[in-house]
């Protein structure tokens, strides 16, 4: 028994019997609990002998729907319906592996087959166990609704009854997956179990954590980035009833360390009022001369530097292009904030050498993990002594890939012996970063005498993402994130060169939904449109001519052409624009239709999106995600970004850093391509094509070309 228990089973406290864990190895193969001690093992199914089936969602839920989509992949193959199982959100438990993170639109694109294999392998051993118990031909047995059934005799056994025998069987290496035509869950619209909780106020987000004897805290931080503390006087603060303590705390964001002053008291209101009495002097260290206007001029000057080569295809220098056939353009985008609607927050409690955390994070396994960049290193706790309760995430968009607010809250908790909840105000969430960096793009292209696009150069000038997070980043090298995807577009251009010019910046920068594709697609696809115009070709035809070979991009464009009625002429004053973008997260294209109104404003009449997924789990959810991505992209393209004056963030809150509202939402139509091929992501790909498609539509309607975000749609 000892031997079996160690090798195959995990005894659970809840049952007297056996429990079978099944999971997946780092290579994507299904594994049993045999390897549970290995870091490469992530169990996802727990079947107990009392019949309970639990499926773990290891991808933190931030609105992308993994609480439905992730278990759906397993349940489909395991032959259980979603309401027969308990779906649990994981909390960074070591036994559940180090892949408990959500980002890069990866939940489904990385797990579509591995998760199905886990479910299928479990189904196969359960069927085999039943056939052995009954000593019948395995071909006469099948699984349905959480039971194995013997077809001729109609007798059946529940999965729970078969667990003991099933756990002793070898897992099949290549379990047989279901034929998609038999799918009951995948590809169908199905309910997300988090939705009812989100309509009655019961869904608990990080900010809702309730812990007994909890105190509240706010942290006063330097308004100037790079400012350090000179002195502070909390005498008046401490006189306020309910204030317990005022002391220094550290926040770490990538390579940056900031000292702030924590004010701890009995309610959020008390501490946020009391902080007004705090006297504090910061040393700005010369950073109070930093202004966005100057920095943008600096980036424009840097455009003349050669930069470091990223990709070189063909040889742009060897082709002779006449000056009249050479075209150049310069594109600019702003720094922006993530603005999840749930402000940053974290509750932490320290008892001796043990740390407990309640928060919402995209990277659960970085909180409890033992890797170099994980929380334990930054706060000085053993990873074994860190416990996490990851709540619903009130918006991630990349902001909650960073654990700075958790590090800071743990440091606040070190000051008291009770739990303490740190809440950032909206202003702090807007102003303190990290931010999406801006990118400036210098584009150059040349046609041969016979009108063929022969050379294309895209030089990105921007601060560096990796420099912001990696202390040992080699500044002479290309920051691959900052040139993301631009050399990988499917266009067949014989000579292509992409280069990068790094600009110093002392402000932390971060990934934002769709990362640098959120800005580079605008420059790249805007310029392609300019080239179509120079070549006197229709923008759709021009692109398709550059896609002679079969590719997913071509497929998306052809579908777009069809569903947008591209060839149907629009009345005067209206315009259509197209853009596509393929990058690590996936592939989508959009056609935007606009009207140029008599009062010089632009109305967006319609956005038609095509997203190529290869396979789809829940089309209804994809639709929701793509629409959301378009709305987010509309905000980024048309609303003011984040700016700095005298070293401080100028914008404060939604009144001066607005987001798109319901009355500004355009009509949208989403088409999903699911005809096999590479499985691609959902959350981000809807974003990059929007801004260029809009700019291209505005050009078609007005003749005015936007090369700088945000676009002013009121004075055209």
């Amino acid at each position: 028994m000892e031997e079996i228990s160690r090798r195959h089973f995990i005894r659970t406290a809840s049952t007297a019997g056996f429990a079978l864990w099944l999971g997946v190895s780092a290579k994507g193969n299904p594994l049993k609990s045999l390897d549970i001690a290995s870091a490469n093992f992530s169990p996802y199914i727990l079947i107990e002998s009392n019949g309970l089936i639990t499926i773990y969602n290891t991808k933190p839920e931030m609105g992308q729907g993994t609480l439905q989509s992730f278990p759906a992949l397993i349940a489909e193959e395991l032959e259980v319906s979603m309401d027969q199982i308990i779906i649990k959100q994981s909390n960074g438990e070591k036994a559940l592996g180090n892949g408990q993170r959500a980002g890069g639109s990866s939940s489904i694109r990385s797990n579509y087959l591995p998760m199905r294999k886990v479910g299928a392998a479990a189904r196969e051993v359960l069927i085999m166990a039943a056939s052995q118990r009954w000593t019948v031909n395995i071909a006469d047995c099948y699984a349905e609704n959480g039971r194995v059934i013997h077809r001729p005799s109609k007798k059946s056994l529940s999965y729970g009854e078969l667990i003991e025998e099933a756990s002793k069987l070898e897992l099949p290496k290549e379990p047989k997956l279901k034929d998609p035509k038999d799918f009951k869950i995948l590809g169908k619209v199905s309910r997300r179990q988090d939705i009812p909780l989100k309509t009655c106020g019961k869904a608990e987000f990080g900010i809702d954590a309730k812990v007994e004897n909890m105190l509240y805290a706010v942290v006063e931080r330097s308004p100037v980035f790079g400012g350090t503390l000179k002195s502070f006087d909390a005498t008046e603060v401490l006189k306020i009833p309910g204030i317990k303590k005022v002391d220094l705390v550290e926040r770490i964001v990538g390579i940056y360390k900031y000292t702030g002053i924590a004010i701890i008291g009995n309610s959020y209101w008390t501490v946020s009022q009391a902080r007004k009495k705090l006297k504090v002097e910061w040393d700005n260290n010369g950073h109070d001369t930093f202004n966005t206007v100057d920095y943008e001029n600096h980036l424009r000057k840097l455009a003349s530097e050669p930069g470091v080569t990223d990709k070189n295809i063909g040889n742009v220098d060897s082709v002779k292009i006449l000056p009249k056939n050479t075209f150049e353009a310069f594109y600019e985008t702003p720094i922006i904030a993530h603005h999840p609607l749930e402000p940053m927050n974290c509750t932490a409690h320290i008892v001796g050498d043990k740390l407990e955390i309640w928060t919402s994070t995209q990277v659960a396994s970085s909180i409890t993990g033992s890797a170099a960049g994980d929380l334990h290193k930054q706060v000085g706790f053993s990873p074994d002594n860190i416990k996490l309760q990851n709540k619903f995430i009130g918006g991630g968009f990349g902001r909650r890939l960073y654990i700075d607010y958790i590090v800071e809250a743990v440091n606040v908790a070190k000051l008291v012996d009770v739990p303490v909840k740190v809440i950032w105000s909206r202003e702090e969430t807007t102003q303190q970063g990290p931010f999406r960096p801006m990118t400036f793009s210098k584009l150059t292209a040349g046609f041969t005498e016979d009108g063929k696009l022969s050379t294309f150069q895209h030089k990105v000038i921007s601060p560096s993402y990796f420099e912001s997070i990696q202390p040992d980043f080699d500044k002479k090298k290309v920051d691959s994130i900052m040139v993301e995807g631009i050399a990988e577009q499917a266009y067949e251009i014989p000579n292509l060169r992409t280069t990068y010019v790094r600009a110093n910046l002392h402000i932390p920068v971060a990934a934002w939904r769709s990362v640098t594709s959120s800005t580079l697609a605008f420059a790249h696809e805007g310029f392609i449109d300019e080239l179509a115009y120079q070549a006197k070709k229709d923008p759709m035809d021009f692109r398709l001519e550059l896609l002679s070979k079969q590719s997913d991009s071509k497929k998306v464009l052809l579908k777009l052409k069809e569903v947008s009625n591209w060839d149907k002429k629009l009345p005067k004053g209206k315009g259509r624009g197209v853009a596509i973008w393929e990058f690590f997260a996936g592939l989508a294209g959009q056609v935007v239709e606009v009207t140029h109104n008599k009062d010089k404003t632009i109305t967006i009449d319609k956005v038609i999106a095509v997203i190529d997924l290869g396979e789809v789990v829940n089309p209804d959810n994809v639709n929701n995600q793509v629409e959301g991505a378009i709305i987010m992209a509309l905000g980024a393209a048309t609303k003011p970004g984040i700016t700095f004056k005298n070293g401080k963030t100028v914008e404060h809150n939604f009144y001066d850093n607005p987001l798109v509202r319901i009355n500004e939402t355009p009509k949208m139509e989403v088409h999903i391509l699911t005809d096999g091929g590479k499985v691609k992501g959902v959350g981000e790909p809807g974003l990059p094509p929007f801004a260029p498609a809009l700019a291209n539509a505005i050009f078609a309607a007005t003749g005015k070309r936007f090369r700088k975000m945000p676009f002013d749609l009121k004075t055209l």
């Binding site: 939705i195 309509t199 009655c200 809702d208 609607l341 619903f392 918006g395 629409e627 319901i662």
Partner: protein, 161 residues
């Protein structure tokens, strides 16, 4: 800052809280009463995540002093219906509206007043009534659809009576 006992009627239940009368109703509801369905988003009446009903009217609890709510009838998302079965809640579930879900308490509370005042709102009515509620995930098309659906459900329910 001084503290005083304030009595509140929230979701037809009486609460006595020891609070600064200046304290926004939002923080009283969340931190002192412990009902966390009402959300903090901006603190300055810009996003609508904190909308509750005060005597049936939608107010932004982040800028409403608790002293103003004392003795009045307060309804939060937890008190909108008994079993998550207000037509709007049913419609929100039917249309799978939320993504992250953080703003939707406020969205539903704003929409509930709209539907009561205007049982058959047009798209434009919805835009006007709901423009004060931000959804960062961009679920606006579904919010609109769900409000129309709730309006239909409400109409049917009325006809049955």
């Amino acid at each position: 800052m001084f503290f005083t006992m304030i009595s509140l009627n929230i979701n037809q239940k009486l609460y006595e809280v020891d609070a600064d009368p200046e304290m926004p109703l939002l923080w009283v509801i969340r931190d002192l009463v412990g009902l966390t369905g009402t959300k903090y988003g901006c603190g300055v009446a810009q996003c609508g995540a904190c909308v509750v009903h005060l005597n049936g009217e939608a107010v932004r609890s982040c800028i409403t002093k608790v002293s103003r709510a004392s003795g009045q009838k307060i309804t939060t998302i937890e008190g909108l219906s008994k079993d998550n079965d207000h037509p709007l809640q049913l419609a929100w579930n039917e249309e799978n509206v939320p993504q992250c879900g953080y703003c939707h308490s406020g969205q539903i509370m704003s929409a509930a007043v709209l539907l009561r005042e205007n049982p058959t709102p047009t798209d434009e009515d919805i835009n006007n009534a709901m423009a004060g509620n931000i959804c960062r995930c961009g679920t606006y098309p579904r919010i609109r659809k769900a409000i129309h659906l709730a309006a239909e459900m409400q109409k049917k329910k009325g006809a049955e009576k």
